[in-house]
């Protein structure tokens, strides 16, 4: 439908139908609002009947729009906003946040501050990126606060228990170089797929996501729907082994404490320090998912997540010695 005369024509044709009392066509939304006495017919059946009326004129009616609108207009706002965040992130790294830590002794206070710094540092690229992609995707799929809470409970609890465990046994959880690289690539790819899904413009990754034997994307993103408790908890605990430099040095410290309680508290306090930023990312996206400008938010988040995914992938490949480092901060 692309002319104003068509509006009048479709409206008059539809109101000629005995049981239709009123019909209102719109050119901008490509829709027609029909009121009348339909009895107990389903909306689909009505659309089918009315299509027969309009078919000679070359129109078809359906209940929902057949062609899904990708809302490209959202990118006008999403792209600059995403770029502001990406440039801001790069500038934060240049600012030399790590130099703010002057003490070489780890008290619980220092562990908390290291956590705070870690949450806005390079770790944000991997842990924060993962949290943003998972929580925005989960919110988009209609997830509740429960999924997000379980993730954070899993993270804090996992850091406490695993921190205590490495303190006690004194043998590190530290993963080897190959595992580190593989983890980096897997997280990067999962983030990339979730990021493209958030953009909501290409539909092939939706299929890709379903066919990927990735328990992560399938269970965590859709977990909320089936009231899955286990998966978000497990991902939260899993962040303990994500390649994040700050986490690794805290683990090394916990390792040297030689006591369960000391190691557990240090790792817990560190995780607590990272909590404000991560909580903002996950509960923030849940909140925004119900706002009218959610389309812009999801696209912004998608662009940021894709950028961070590429950053992580390039870094993982550089660590493996496959490519020379692209980023030098």
């Amino acid at each position: 439908m692309h002319c104003n005369a068509c509006i009048l024509m479709t409206e008059s044709e539809l109101t000629d139908v005995p049981y239709v009392t009123n019909a209102k066509s719109s050119l901008t939304t490509h829709s027609v609002e029909v009121t009348g006495m339909f009895g107990d017919k389903t909306p689909e059946a009505i659309a089918e009947e009315l299509t027969k009326v309009l078919q000679p004129r070359g129109y078809a009616l359906s209940v929902e729009k057949i062609q899904k609108n990708a809302e490209w207009g959202d990118f006008v706002y999403a792209l600059p906003i995403a770029l502001v965040f990406i440039v801001g992130f790069a500038m934060l790294q240049k600012a030399g946040l790590a130099n703010l830590i002057t003490s070489s002794n780890v008290s619980y206070g220092t562990a908390f501050i290291i956590g705070l710094i870690a949450s806005v540092s390079s770790c944000l690229a991997i842990v924060g990126g993962l949290v943003l992609s998972l929580s925005a995707s989960s919110a988009k799929e209609g997830g509740t606060w429960r999924t997000q809470t379980l993730f954070h409970v899993g993270r804090l609890g996992g850091f406490f228990i695993l921190g205590g465990a490495i303190g006690l046994i004194g043998s590190s959880f530290q993963v080897g170089l190959t595992v580190n690289v593989v983890l980096g690539i897997v997280v990067g790819l999962v983030m990339f797929i979730l990021g493209v899904n958030l953009l909501d413009v290409f539909h092939f990754t939706k299929r890709l996501q379903l066919s990927t034997p990735s328990w992560l994307s399938r269970r965590v993103v859709r977990g909320s729907r089936h009231d899955h408790y286990f998966a978000p908890l497990l991902v939260g605990i899993g962040t303990f082994v994500l390649p994040c430099g700050f986490t690794q040095s805290m683990q090394l410290y916990a390792l040297n404490t030689g006591s369960f309680m000391h190691g557990a508290i240090v790792m817990f306090v560190f995780a607590l320090g990272t909590f404000p930023v991560l909580a903002l990312l996950s509960f923030g996206s849940l909140n925004i998912a119900h706002k009218p400008w959610k389309g812009i938010f999801f696209k912004t988040a998608g662009i940021i997540v894709i950028a961070l995914a590429l950053f992580n992938l390039a870094n993982a490949l550089a660590t493996a010695g496959i490519i020379s480092p692209l980023f030098s901060i």
Binding site: N99, Q174, A314
Partner: protein, 126 residues
């Protein structure tokens, strides 16, 4: 509709340009030269919030030692990876770590990174 698009493009171009300027302005980094101590070539690197110096020139074919110093280093630079040597270690937050390089390994350009890859340094054996 065209006005927001134009503003959006202008802001994007400005940001991308700014990011490039930011990335290139400090890519030169600090440079250093290896020193000789008791017949062994020593390459000193400080690790905290990145590596310094970022580019070190050294003599090729000489038994060498990379001496990495950490002082209150809790960031990624404490988690050192040298792909060519298959070396990976989480360094103590404060201390000195010595990594020996045989004369055969002291060839070409050796890249060192933190385990997440965003900090790096380069040793050029010449």
């Amino acid at each position: 509709m065209t006005k927001p698009i134009l503003i959006s493009i202008a802001v994007s171009v400005l940001l991308i340009g700014g990011a490039f300027w930011l990335a290139t302005s400090s890519s030169g980094g600090s440079t250093g030269v290896a020193t000789m101590e008791n017949g062994v070539q020593v390459i000193d690197i400080a690790a905290k919030g990145g590596y310094s110096p970022r580019v070190i020139t050294a003599k090729a074919g000489v038994p060498s030692v990379i001496r990495v110093e950490t002082s209150g280093t809790f960031d990624c630079s404490a988690s050192l990876v040298i792909p060519k040597l298959s070396y990976q270690k989480s360094l103590q937050p404060s201390g000195t770590e010595e990594i020996s390089i045989s004369s055969e390994q002291a060839q070409g350009t050796m890249q060192g990174l933190c385990s997440m890859g965003m900090y790096n340094f380069q040793i050029r054996f010449q």
